[in-house]
Amino acid sequence: MVDQSTSSREIDIEFRGVTKRFDDVVAVDNVSLDVERGAFFSFLGPSGCGKTTSLRLIAGFEQPTEGDVFIGGNSVVGIPSHKRPVNMVFQHYALFPHMNVAENIGYGLRQRSPKPAKQDVDKRVDETLEMVRLSGYAKRRVWELSGGQQQRVALARALINHPTCLLLDEPLAALDRKLRREMQIELQTLQREVGITFILVTHDQEEALSMSDRICIMRDGRIVQSGSPRELYDEPVNRYVADFVGKSNFFSGEVVGSNGSGVTVKLESGQALTGIQPKSAPGLANGSRASIAVRPEMISIKAADEANTDSSITIKGQVMNRIFLGEHSEYLVATEGYGDVMVLSPKSIEHSDRSFVLDDRVALSWRPDAALVLGDA
């Protein structure tokens, strides 16, 4: 295990002003970031946002047009991939079809010079097979394995080399939903066991949120926000992040004023709503476009005639749809002047008298600090 007290500040991967252009297309645009040793770090974003290119810049399959990439404190610009102390798990695993499982896993060891003794390679392969729970599969052909097993061979093939950093390019995309959940847990456990820095590329926000220590959200080659999953969820810097991470109701309009308690946004319908700004978000000038974002689970739903005594914001509407999700119910409520609002109501407070059906008149309310004012960037 890595000693936590000394390793906590060490940086494994660092980007300094990295730009990557392909002809006229800017895939990565002036990105700076650092990843601490032993972290589980994710690049999250839609396709074409530059997350895969960032990973390939670390692996050495691409070289930056501008800027500097560091691995373990050393600049690796110009160094080809076979000389870099990182290993990758490919999206479709890229297992060598003409080799069996053991030959695939031992491949990296056999490239070392001086070449290690055969029995040493075999021993390490056996240990690694055990680690990924594939003992007894050494002589199998890779195409005979299931998707999940191939995934674990790909992991073993990378981890056997004890890389500084393990790169994972959408590693779970090819698996079915149930298997994906299992592999997410398995990956996390494995990462804690081996203590190696993991860098994951994914477009699946749920995957990033559930596995990572830190997430970097990208758009058009730039970093929009990076932070812990909780920071991104609770304090998104703009509407893009709030929309990408979890679900939100957005009420968009124009900033009309701000004071100590919050920022007021005037909606197109003429209604005004007040919310607070997340700490890290840039200030909003009067007249700029902004949205009030409210998470569906932060809204409470009551009958319209129920007395409203607290100081929370309340809007009225009519139930348009209700989806029963087991532990939650999801309501879609048409409101006057605020558009359609989604509400997530936990089963624990869904008593018979608080459960609503189609066309019921309801009142929606939330605490003032549940509403975030976000720039539309």
């Binding site: 399959f61 076979h82 490919f90 890229a94 297992l95 060598f96 490239q111 195409w143 990378a158």
Partner: protein, 270 residues
């Protein structure tokens, strides 16, 4: 429809079948069958001219197969890195060289080589030291091999290109990611992936060169290859001996073609 198909196949294969059948003829004449025997095979194999022509053909075909699979594979690997107009241009040229009739390649190569030899031979003679006999360039093995390779190399390029296109690019990256140098990546990953295509190309090149008459006829010079021998001996009338030689060539070619087919299929299934 079915009758037409049968007619076409009969037209194609009956003459070949007859050659094979008559090669086992016990009689002296090619036109009447008098019992079965393998005596003509013995005659053909013991004929020094046939043996000579056979070895000429073998040397030429082997050289062509080796050269075109080496150069064709190298060219295919290089072409795959090209982009844009250059690539389109080369692709076009490769397909054109496959489509050019053998007779055109034969004449063109003959004219080109004769011109070059006429230019080089006096030059060589003038720079050669006094007393020593200067070498004289002329038609022979090298000219047939060169002319055949011109054609068969394109076949190898096309086969290997198709194989590379079907190969997962991530395999190469995975190998490099696992510390393999470019050279080791080539022979540990790329080569095992494309060798069925190279083998098929080798065998097809061999078969083409071994069977070719037209190009060899123009540029072989004094060397007689097997097809040229057959051609010259049928001018004296078709004998069961020629049938026997033809059948042997057919058997060898069919074997190689089937091996090529098999090797192309083997790995594509997985």
């Amino acid at each position: 429809m079915r009758i037409y198909a049968i007619a076409v196949f009969l037209f194609l294969y009956v003459p070949i079948g007859i050659i094979v059948l008559f090669s086992f003829n016990a009689g002296r004449h090619a036109s009447e069958l008098r019992g079965l025997s393998i005596q003509w095979y013995g005659k053909a194999l013991s004929n020094p001219f046939v043996a000579d022509a056979f070895f000429n053909s073998l040397i030429v075909a082997l050289s062509v197969a080796v050269l075109s699979s080496l150069m064709g594979t190298a060219a295919a690997l290089a072409l795959q890195r090209l982009k844009g107009t250059v690539r389109v241009l080369f692709d076009g040229l490769i397909y054109i060289s496959v489509m050019i009739p053998g007779i055109v390649i034969g004449i063109a190569t003959l004219v080109a080589l004769v011109t070059v030899f006429d230019f080089l031979n006096p030059l060589l003679a003038s720079i050669w030291p006094e007393g020593a006999k200067p070498p004289k360039l002329s038609m022979g093995y090298a000219s047939v091999i060169a002319a055949h390779t011109l054609f068969t190399m394109s076949i190898v390029i096309i086969l290997v290109r198709a194989r590379i296109a079907g190969m997962d690019r991530a395999l190469i990256e995975a190998s490099m990611d696992l510390y393999a140098t470019p050279w080791r990546t080539f022979y540990q990953v790329t080569l095992p992936q494309i060798y069925p295509a190279i083998l098929a190309g080798f065998l097809l090149s061999f078969t083409f060169s071994f069977d070719d008459f037209i190009i060899a006829f123009f540029v072989a010079g004094a060397n007689t290859t097997l097809p040229i021998y057959i051609f010259s001996s049928i001018r004296r009338g078709i004998t069961p001996e020629v049938n026997a030689i033809g059948t042997m060539v057919l058997a060898v070619s069919l074997c190689l073609l089937m091996t090529a087919q098999f090797s192309l299929r083997a790995r594509t299934n997985r």
